[in-house]
Symmetry: C2
Subunit: 191 residues, 2 copies
DNA sequence: GCTTTCAGTTGACATTGTCATCCCAACCTA
DNA sequence: TAGGTTGGGATGACAATGTCAACTGAAAGC
């Protein structure tokens, strides 16, 4: 038999999937509650039983994306057999990769502050903590915090410029990969 | 006497000002054509005589912002009496400053690609060229392009993280200023 | 002086987020 | 097991909004 909580959870899942798919395909403008509901097999205002409003639905989508980033970073952790600098390189490239393959999702992830005790905040913080350990493997624990911030900002900025087309043309004559490599080369030795 | 082109130009100006004010105050959601028209003293669909649609109106607002950035960078040019590294520091801080004082405008500036021969493209390119000369004063013309891209990306990323609240908390223990300073310290000598 | 042009207005329409209300089957309790 | 309760879902309705078509009036051109 089908319990109520089962169908409810399934609907919630379907809503999140539909919202994510629509966002990926057509950007934020394509994410209408009516279409989300239709794809999830429910009606237009059914999402209100699972999310406070449209914004919270999008926040939940972003939360899942951050969780995915955290999982990916966990696989790059210091217990892996990847050398530290290579792990850091992969972590930074992963961010750029998300921006390239899911530009709208990427923008959503960095759209709104995770500065309060929400699910988004927790998941994003976990991802940042894991990133910090990766950085720590390269520049040492003492300098990890400051260089972690710089590395994250640089990768985020590179991704943002690429998404907005400001890296295009022959202006900078550098790809995202080139710029990341340049920055990695500037990092100090662990101290 | 009041010529038609005069009033037309004045209306266009008023529309741009109104849109900019609304954007600053309440974000993109607050920019409705009805309110823009009302503040400009015209009716809801008058903007369509000056801009193709709402998006083009916002693009025009972004274009003016980029022009302002270009003007600011021009005042930091090599003919000024500011030492090169200080000029670069000021240029980067200026970007962060715009993000802080006009977050919504800042996001708009980097929202859409200037990769075609529009007014936005020209103005943004001018600003980037001027930035390049500032960078050139620090690392030398030979390395200006690659480091320019990195510096712009870093400043943009720092601003983005600050706006989205990801720099908050004690996670990175570094302000935007700290991170910029850290990066400036890593730059090589002119070669 | 007459016609043309064009900025601006008004009416109308489709889309969309949101809420109030209703419905019904799963759930719980006596 | 019967009857009340609960909560997910559906539907109707509404206001806000972007956009277009038709209309108006005055400046511009002949």
């Amino acid at each position: 038999m089908v319990t109520r909580s089962e169908t409810s959870a399934a609907t919630r899942r379907a809503l999140l999937d539909a919202a994510g798919t629509l966002l990926d395909a057509g950007g934020p403008k394509a994410v209408t509650l009516r279409e989300v509901g239709a794809r999830a097999g429910v009606s237009r205002s059914a999402p209100y039983r699972h999310f406070e409003d449209k914004e919270r639905l999008l926040t939940a989508v972003a939360t899942e994306a951050w969780r995915g980033v955290g999982d990916a970073l966990a696989r790059l952790g210091p217990d892996g057999d990847t050398p530290p600098e290579q792990a850091l390189r992969l972590a930074l490239l992963a961010l750029v990769g998300i921006g390239r393959s899911h530009p709208h999702l990427y923008r959503l992830m960095f759209a709104t502050p995770p500065a309060d005790p929400t699910a988004l905040a927790r998941v994003a913080e976990r991802a940042q903590d894991l990133f910090l350990t990766v950085v720590s493997g390269v520049v040492g624990p003492g300098q990890a915090k400051q260089y972690g911030g710089l590395l994250l900002a640089a990768a985020h900025g590179i991704t943002g410029l690429e998404l907005s087309g400001h890296l295009g043309g022959d202006k900078w004559q550098a790809s995202a990969e080139d710029l990341l490599e340049l920055l990695l080369g500037l990092l100090p030795d662990p101290r």
